[in-house]
Symmetry: C7
Subunit: 93 residues, 7 copies
């Protein structure tokens, strides 16, 4: 019963993704990757389907300088276990 | 039966998050990240929904100096498996 | 019930792979590997069966230069837990 | 049946935490962290709720010297999968 | 029902291993290992039983040179969670 | 049925821990740690309860020398997923 | 039904361990460890019970030389998730 309460309570984290469907979100994943794209689908594992995605990859070189690479990816399915956090769309966005 | 006892006993760790809903908490996650934001939702996996979040990223450069970066993120959903610990709001907070 | 809703809603991420069956896709996996091949099968764990696969392996040498190796693999089964993201085929592709 | 035997036998490891509730314990977690606090709650995943927690972070610098940082954290919920071991309170403590 | 569809559809990735039983396959596993052997058995976790196996271990030394070691292993059982991908036998092989 | 056979067969690995209860054992865990203590409890996840535990921590310094630190811990609960192997007590011990 | 087929088919990888019970096998585990011992028990997670075990630990020093350490361990229980592969006994062994 306890567990069901968590599942159905209104402020379950995954529920907040619904308000960002069809909006641009940022997804921070492991290994210093960042995706920016339109959220077109998600499930309870945080698997995500993103349209028009751009990847930003950050790394630090030997001199300590931070470098960032951009790459246009298009439509991607992200496996949820790579996700650190999802940055939701601005409610006005 | 044994297992149910743990689930329903009053001092289950996850239950203590309830008292911090709508309060500012700190979340320490893997890979030297720290989030500060208002707890708006959570579930039994420690997935968290945070509003008005700031990220603090600590790293040590080649000289051994500790650097800290701040970044304003807004509203985020943190995938629970990245969490090391949640620092609850001060009861007076 | 909540959970079933996620499973059956039309925009579940894994469902989008169906439109790429028999088309060329890119798969980014952990450890800097990238596969390009024709998607011939997949399951809910993101296990993938790819035909005519080429592997691209990127690494950075001591001088900071990025190197890329190509290797023709043929038909492979990728274990889903290695996948970071799947780059779907262009709808016109 | 075999499995149930393990669950209910008197010397199940998790059961020993009960005697440390409301006592000061030490928790060694991954990534060289150590928490010292009063055990206020736990579950079968070794999720822990600690009150009045101090964090001790050990690291080795370039000269091989061991450094230790102290930080007062207050009340925290530790996600169980980070725990290496829990050092129980002295029975006399 | 949705899930069962994936399980039973003809192009499930694991099903493609059946055509390689008793044939020579290549298995790429984590930590830069590669096995070549005759596939004698497998299960849904990608646990594999290989006969007459040779291990190829690649590493890069300090000069950036790629080295490869060969080792004859005989019959081995590979734990599935180490597998990155299985390179199926050539249909003509 | 197949699975039950494995569970109940007499030579299941976990069963061999029973003969070491109340005896001194060695536990090798990840991250170069070694515990020596009296086995007072265990479960099917290899969670362990040890009494009178000493921790031995090995590391290699910059000169390649192996160092070992000893630390008296007392009674600890080890989370099973950290365990590499348990070295059982000598039957004569 | 599909899944049950895999479980009960004769060439399931784990079944091949049966022929090595009471024989000397080699077990390659993560973190460059190798165990040689008599297989006295195993389960479906590849937890293993080995008698008269010797551990071989390989590492590469600063000069690129490969070193190997031997250690007599006696009877050990290996937690299955550390196993990369098991090298079965020679059928004539």
């Amino acid at each position: 019963m306890e567990r069901k309460n968590y599942q159905s309570r209104p402020n379950r984290p995954i529920d907040y993704l619904k308000s960002s469907v069809n909006k641009i979100i940022l997804i921070k994943v492991k290994r210093n990757r960042l995706f920016r794209g339109k959220l077109a689908g998600f499930d309870e594992h945080l698997n995500l389907y993103l349209e028009g995605t751009t990847q930003l990859f950050e790394y630090i070189d030997e001199d300590g300088s931070v470098h960032e690479e951009h790459e246009t990816l298009g439509d991607i399915v992200v496996r949820g276990d790579n996700v650190i956090f999802v940055n939701l769309a601005n409610p006005d966005g």
